[in-house]
């Protein structure tokens, strides 16, 4: 002990030597009562002007000390020794050696004064150890700070330095809503917060956290003031208004407002647009719906966020139109959310309305293989107009019953109405010169669909980590009724003369409805700290009805009410499914793995109500084995392997023969002898990235082997195609992705490349012959990004794809496609921004697809921001400056190659004004900030 002490003193001396050493302060530390020297007393010199510790040491075994200071001046000499009162004196250092003499230490006696609160007026409540002041009962001037308020409270004094004394003791902590407001000093809180936002002032002795946790009082108490804020002061309004008008009748207007008061939020939005802006987009949708998505955090600390759909079927995640043709939308919604009872009760409600018109003009070119090794080529033009509206209502109620149990009820209902009218016009040629058939078709339909879904989820955790139970009960109901008309004229040619005519003029009605109930229980049990067992059991009852009726003209009445039983069907289904499963999970620090399987028994009962056949029963036993292995080191290096096996039973249309004439040139025949197909899906993924050097590497791949794959047998005769579903062997497909990127630190440029490869091996039968197709595609995308904060950014992503389509019975079709994207943004003076982007789409012309479908899509905008917070923006933009845009896709599968080109929004200019407003007084001040935590 002594030697350690001694060596410490030596070190302390050494440490001091590190400083400049002109001036020395010497002295002795003594106990006044016993006249003993006090060794190892702490001796500190503090600068008087700024209270900074200049120098410190410990007294030697004889009580002597020696301190060195670099400068002359006034210092506070501060000496402490356990169980003695702190000693403090001011000394002037001007000589090289200042002898202070003896520091006389006095043994301390602490006298606790007891404070008794005598008055008990209504404004003050005493709850146990807590004294509570109702802030509004104590008048303070407007804009008064909390300090002014505290001064008025009986039993609390605030001195000129802002130090607070409550009930005779110095207040050491000031909490705001129970949270320690992080600041050096309680003063910062009391002087920086407005008195008007305070509801209650609570004064109590805070027990140590340890004592609070264990319930064992260790006697450590801290005099604490808690400021409880008024809930209604946490209120405000924020939102966004965007108004845009363009050339050629284009418009794009959006408004959104969110009002919140404490935990209650009310939002509304509206969009009117005929550009590609048809929905809120995920960001706006998020603030609109207060993120009614589901955030889950598992035991390994992984977060999954499932966001709720925007409710707009035609809008993608970015709020843009993802369909074909020209859209025009009017949509709006209301959102309400509230939480109460310490957030234990949470309710969310939404209503949405949308109305949209879409106009599509398209041309589809399809190449089909024929019996005699030649091909037929069909070109079909379509003009479609659809108009419809929809109402959607949904709600969620969550109740945290206790810290282990949560009950969540969600419900949604909606109605959709749609009128579609389409004109088709097609011509099929054999060997590109012989006319095979022509078809003119008009199809109209009016449909209404309604749905009601409900879900009750009960989750319970237990004290034992890893043990949990959940029960999920669901109800789904959907009904669709449609009423339409089909007028079709088909002419089949032989040697340039009409050989056969098929005319259809029918009324078509259909009704489908499904009512399903399901329940599923899951239980997890920890077998050890590393091993977990999961059991689940569920059952589903599904009752559905599918009616399709065709009516011919009744020659007697002239009305279209004569049921055509050949082209009509009326089926009733009852499906009862039992599913059970077991899985084991092993969790280690760097890796975890799991395996298990679900088994499901599905029993179908099908009644043909129209033709009065006896009921058919199909029973399927389906297996779903699975295994996962994850290896993770830190967050930047991970490897994952996954296997999943799954059975797919045939769908009703694949099994049941339904006679259809909606597409007279394409007939589908059911196959009641179809077996289930079984897919083995393997996938691997490897990620590695280095944040600081900006290098990343992602690789992933998947491979699926399909046993008894449900494939097709097609035959083409006289331009009529008949498809039947069959089971085949040997089908497989795979996908690989590799991405690499790095940062050139010196010039701050991010460079990289992605490589995608896909293979698809499909066996099928075409015209009685075994057909094996290999559809492979390879894409290489180099990327270059150059970014200078607040100045400019430029991005170049050229991409090239090679599609290789080989078929054993039909012609091969291989082609190149390329998409080159170049975009840049420059920040100009005066809060101006200029952005331009080029997208050059190159689609190789082939013998079959000889039309030039290359597009250079050029967009640009110039914007200027106004106001102090730059929250008002004026933007002038031109889209598709060269007026070339078209919608385009090309696919090849099972010997059939298809190209689709359709109309898309073309050149227009637009001037828009965007205003982001926010008014949040008192409560939550808007704070700028990035996603720093999320990335960390």
């Amino acid at each position: 002990m002594r030697t350690i002490l001694l060596s410490f003193i030596l070190i302390a001396g050494f440490f001091q030597a590190g400083w400049a050493q002109q001036y020395i302060v010497k002295g002795y530390v003594h106990d006044t009562l016993n006249y003993q020297s006090l060794p190892s007393a702490s001796v500190v010199l503090i600068r008087t002007n700024d209270s900074v510790i200049q120098s410190y040491t410990r007294s030697h075994s004889d009580g002597s000390f020696e301190l060195k200071v670099p400068k002359q001046g006034r210092y506070i000499l501060h000496v402490t020794f356990p169980h003695f009162a702190d000693f403090q004196d001011v000394i002037d250092v001007h000589d090289f050696v200042t002898s202070y003499g003896t520091v006389q230490m006095e043994s301390s006696e602490h006298i606790l004064k007891e404070f008794v609160l005598k008055k008990n007026i209504a404004a003050i409540k005493i709850k146990g150890d807590t004294t509570e002041y109702m802030a509004d009962s104590f008048k303070v001037k407007d804009n008064a700070t909390v300090e002014d308020l505290l001064k008025r409270l009986p039993g609390i004094t605030v001195d000129k330095n802002g130090s607070i004394t409550a009930q005779g003791e110095t207040v050491q902590k000031v909490l705001v809503d129970g949270e320690e407001f992080f600041s050096d000093d309680p003063k910062v809180v009391t002087q920086g917060l407005q008195a008007a936002v305070v509801e209650k002032v609570q004064v109590f002795d805070k027990k140590s956290d340890q004592a609070e946790f264990t319930g064992i009082d260790d006697g450590q108490k801290t005099k604490t003031i808690n400021l409880s804020l008024k809930e209604d002061k946490k209120k405000g309004v924020f939102g966004k208004v965007e108004a845009g008008g363009g050339t050629d009748g284009y418009f794009q207007n959006q408004g959104m407002i969110n009002a919140f008061k404490a935990k209650r939020q009310l939002s509304a939005f509206g969009i009117m647009s005929n550009t590609d802006k048809v929905g809120l987009g995920w960001q706006d949708n998020n603030s609109f719906s207060s993120g009614a998505g589901v955030t889950e955090i598992n035991d390994e600390g992984q977060v999954s966020i499932t966001s709720v759909g925007s409710g707009d079927e035609i809008a993608g995640w970015d709020g843009k139109y993802n369909g074909e043709g020209l859209p025009k939308v009017w949509t709006g919604g209301l959102h309400f959310a509230d939480k109460w009872n310490e957030d234990k009760q949470h309710i969310v409600g939404n209503y949405r309305y949308g109305m949209q018109n879409v106009e599509v003009n398209g041309l589809t070119t399809t190449q089909n293989p024929l019996t005699n090794d030649s091909v037929s080529v069909t070109r079909e033009k379509r003009n479609q107009f659809s108009t419809g509206d929809r109402h959607g209502l949904d709600g969620m109620y969550e109740w945290k019953i206790d810290s282990f149990t949560t009950l969540k009820v969600t419900a949604a209902a909606g109605q959709k109405q749609q009128d579609i009218s389409t004109m088709y016009n097609s011509t099929t040629m054999l060997q590109d010169s012989i006319l095979s058939n022509t078809n003119d078709k008009k199809s109209t339909s009016t449909s209404t669909s309604t749905f009601v879904n409900a879900d009750v989820l009960l989750r319970k955790k237990f004290r034992t980590k890893g043990r949990s139970f959940s029960l999920d009960v669901k109800e789904n109901y959907k009904e669709t009724n449609s009423d339409g008309r089909l007028i079709s004229a088909t002419d089949l040619y032989r040697a340039d003369t009409i050989a056969f005519v098929n005319n259809v003029n029918q009324k078509k009605t259909s009704t489908t409805n499904t009512l399903a109930f399901s329940a599923r229980a899951t239980y997890t049990e920890p077998l050890s700290k590393k091993t977990f067992l999961e059991l689940n059991y569920g059952l589903t009852v599904n009752n559905s009805l599918a009616q399709n009726f065709s009516y011919d003209t009744n020659l007697a009445t002239g009305k279209m009410d004569l049921l055509n039983t050949f082209y009509s069907s009326d089926y009733k289904y009852n499906i009862f499914t039992n599913t059970g499963g077991i899985a084991a999970r092993f969790v280690y620090e760097k890796y975890n793995f799991s395996f298990g399987s679900d088994v499901s028994d599905a029993r179908y009962n099908q009644v043909n109500q129209l033709h009065g056949d006896s009921a058919r029963n199909y029973d399927y036993l389906n297996f779903f084995p699975r295994a996962t292995f994850v290896y993770q080191v830190g967050r930047s290096n991970s490897f994952r392997f996954n296997y999943q096996g799954s059975t797919r039973q045939p769908t009703i249309t694949e099994v049941t023969p339904l006679n259809q004439n909606t597409d007279p040139l394409n007939i589908v025949v059911g196959n009641p002898d179809l077996k289930q197909q079984f897919t083995h899906a393997f996938s691997v993924r490897y990620n590695n990235f280095k944040m600081l050097s900006g290098r990343f590497l992602f690789a992933s791949g998947s491979f699926n082997v399909i046993n008894d794959a449900i494939s097709t047998s097609t035959s083409n005769t006289d331009g009529l195609r008949q498809t039947r579903y069959i089971n085949v062997t040997g089908n497989y497909n795979g996908f690989a992705f590799f991405g690499y990127g790095y940062k050139l630190k010196k010039i701050d440029m991010q460079m990289g490349a992605h490589l995608n490869a896909g293979i698809n091996h499909i066996n099928s039968i075409i015209n009685g012959k075994q057909n094996t197709t290999n559809n492979n595609s390879y894409t290489l995308t180099p990327t270059v990004q150059y970014y200078k904060d607040k100045k400019y950014s430029i991005e170049f992503n050229p991409s090239v794809t090679y599609n290789d389509n080989q078929s054993s019975v039909s012609q091969n079709s291989s082609y190149w496609m390329s998409n080159n994207e170049l975009s840049g943004t420059v920040q100009l003076p005066g809060k101006m921004e200029f952005n331009t982007s080029f997208n050059w789409f190159l689609r190789q012309q082939t013998e079959l697809f000889s039309t030039n479908n290359n597009v250079m899509l050029w967009n640009a905008y110039l914007s200027k921001k106004f106001l102090k917070k730059s929250n008002l923006e004026l933007r002038a933009s031109v889209l598709d400056i060269l007026n070339q845009n078209i919608g385009y896709s090309r696919t090849a599968q099972a010997g059939i190659i298809t190209e689709d080109a359709y109309n898309s929004i073309r050149r227009y200019g637009m001037l828009s004004l965007i205003w982001n407003f926010s008014n949040t007084p008192g409560g939550v001040p808007p704070q700028p900030g990035g996603m720093m935590m999320m990335r960390r």
């Binding site: 405000g236 390994e300 957030d343 990335r935 960390r936």
Partner: protein, 250 residues
Amino acid sequence: MKQFILAVLSFVAFSIPVHAQYTVAGKIEFERKVNFYAQLKEMEEAGPNPFMEQMKSKIPKFSTSYFDMIFDTTQSIYKPGREAEVNNVMKMFGGGPATANVVYTNFKTQKAISNKKVFDQSFHVMDTMRVLEWRIKDEIRTIANFKCHKAVGIICDSVYVVAFYTEDILASGGPEMFGGLPGMILELAVPRLHTTWTATKFELISPVATDFVISDKGKKVTSKELQESLESSLKNFGKMAQRNLWWSAL
């Protein structure tokens, strides 16, 4: 828990006698708490951010982790301690900043050696002990039965650090690279990072030489070089860069 009470009791019994004793060696467990809600709040752009609200409802307010500090009068080592029992929020962000830091300080040679992991990169930082201007305050707190004085310092030009140190422990150390006060720091708060370190457990042990072993793996740098290298790597990360620089400078 029992162990803790025992440790405290034995310590109390040991320290109370008339002839005051100083603590010369031992092991302190620091509980580091990061106020996650406050960090989330800083990210809120305007009004309540619903994703953040969602997050809040699912995660505890504080992300807790433990660090052990073993010291005698010549040296100290600060390193990750036991795993937190409750779900550690920072885990999903890859453990969070400075969770794997190890700091070795030699009071005799005035050297501080630390292993710091910033994102995926490990650094081996060798430097002299950091000298801060500690401003002394009147406030006194009792932490783990030690009487502590308050001192306020500044790192990275503007980041305030609040320390409560006890003169009853002779070593001038503290969590991370903090020290240079006339005793041991038992509570430390970095308000800008919404983080506190509090001594929750003290054991009187006699350290052995192997306790102070620090691995020399990682890129070898000085504190200044570390800051410069991070500044250049993170220069386009805006506010996030700033925060990471603070974390790595602790």
